[in-house]
Symmetry: C2
DNA sequence: AGATCGTTCAAGCAAATGCTTGAATACTTG
DNA sequence: CAAGTATTCAAGCATTTGCTTGAACGATCT
């Protein structure tokens, strides 16, 4: 014990966790899975990669222990293996935003100019929801809403927002939220709403942070389960 | 804004932080730097690599923003660029210990059998120090002690411990601590002390966790500064 | 100024990585 | 049981990584 080879092997194993997160595509996958479990083809669609490539990344994540999978009927659903993984991803983002030089620039290039969009913190949103004068819109893709959302939120994926504006009640401010600080959905939603004269703000961070903070959430167990018994067998 | 290329670039940048931690040798470096700043040749010695290779890893860490450097006379000292980096490293270790299958096995191979060694938590140690019936030994290499240690601890690097046993006062239990949960120094120290009939326990984690918890520390500013004014110019 | 010490650079090489394409597998459904 | 769908495997490739060796650089000290 205490020899070089064993130490190297141990630290290689510790580092393997970081290594697997050290690919932009896998990071995107983790960002998606932080919203809840998803099937392979959905994930591939989200990250803009081929199904085969996405599957390989998922295998990689699986072998490293960051995700788990289960089969339900014909599809295989992946999920983060625990809350620690989402926390790790948050820690990575925090360090990046503090110390990676070009990050602001890249974020601006992807997110656009956020300066005109006002934001609400989690607690501000909670308080305004208690007041009842605000409509909360979950603008993430529908499966993410289904596997968990802010209690009382309504699902209107940003892609459908423009066509569903008339569903919104008059005379209320709208608060939109999505995956987190590096997600554009809520920004786009707020811009669309404003363009139509509806007062709108964005939740500063996303659903995972809301959930992690212990604020009220709803999970729709009745919608997803699909026909047949849910098979809990791990496919790992 | 919102296009694929920009999103990929953004997530590549976020993932770059994880990527740089995704090498066992760089992880060892971060583990060392979490104790305080060190010069290149010292780090090379600690991680058992050539100076040239260590320097390259440090350049890598520097470019990614995780560490900073400063020159003092003839040597260049590296340090973590902020507390978030140590937190990130802790998050990596936590996920690894929870989810990496073979980790326990590898840890056992490096650390040996810990079952016979009793441990103290941070708060237990703090309370027993208040009682005054315990001697606290910092068994890390001396430079790490010098750049910061538990208030009231005595520096006896584990390499020197066997020859310096007579310095220890009689009739006290000894608590040894080192870098953290994956460090062998305190284990080795406890084993050595026990072998000589001295009651000894190990602090469950290490100095960085003690410091992060806001418990009392001492930093020896007067010893290190070296001749001449400290040059604060970053060499990055 | 020259010698010395600590650090970095440059080139080279074996091994690993990320993606593609096309085939194989495993389950469900008719 | 056969057809269909979702996922994984396998091979191939251009690129990147981690380490080595030997030389170059930069600051200090005589």
């Amino acid at each position: 014990m205490g020899d070089r080879a064993a130490k190297d092997a141990l630290f290689d194993a510790l580092a393997s966790v970081a290594k697997v997160l050290g690919s932009g595509r896998r990071a995107e996958i983790v960002d998606v899975l932080a919203q809840g479990e998803r099937a392979v083809d959905e994930i591939a669609e989200e990250i803009g990669q081929s199904v085969a490539n996405t599957s390989q990344h998922l295998q990689h994540l699986l072998r490293s222990g960051l995700v788990l999978s289960r089969r339900d009927g014909t599809r295989i659903y992946y999920r983060l293996s625990g809350p620690g993984v989402a926390q790790l991803w948050a820690a990575v983002r925090l360090v990046a935003s503090d110390h990676v030089a070009k990050l602001n620039e890249l974020a601006a290039a992807y997110l656009g100019d956020r300066s005109a969009l006002s934001t609400l913190t989690r607690t501000e949103l909670r308080d305004r929801m208690a007041g009842g004068d605000i409509v909360v819109l979950d603008v993430r893709p529908e499966p993410e809403f289904r596997s968990g959302h802010i209690a009382g939120a309504v699902s209107v994926p940003v892609k459908e927002l423009a066509e569903r504006l008339r569903e919104l009640p008059d005379g209320h401010t709208v608060a939109a939220y999505c995956r987190g600080p590096y997600c554009v959905f809520a920004d786009d939603a707020v811009r669309t709403l404003r363009r139509h004269g509806i007062p709108a703000v964005r939740l500063e961070d996303g659903y995972p942070e809301w959930e992690a903070a212990g604020l009220p959430v709803e999970t729709n167990v009745s919608e997803t389960p699909a026909r047949g018994a849910v098979n809990l067998t791990e496919t790992a």
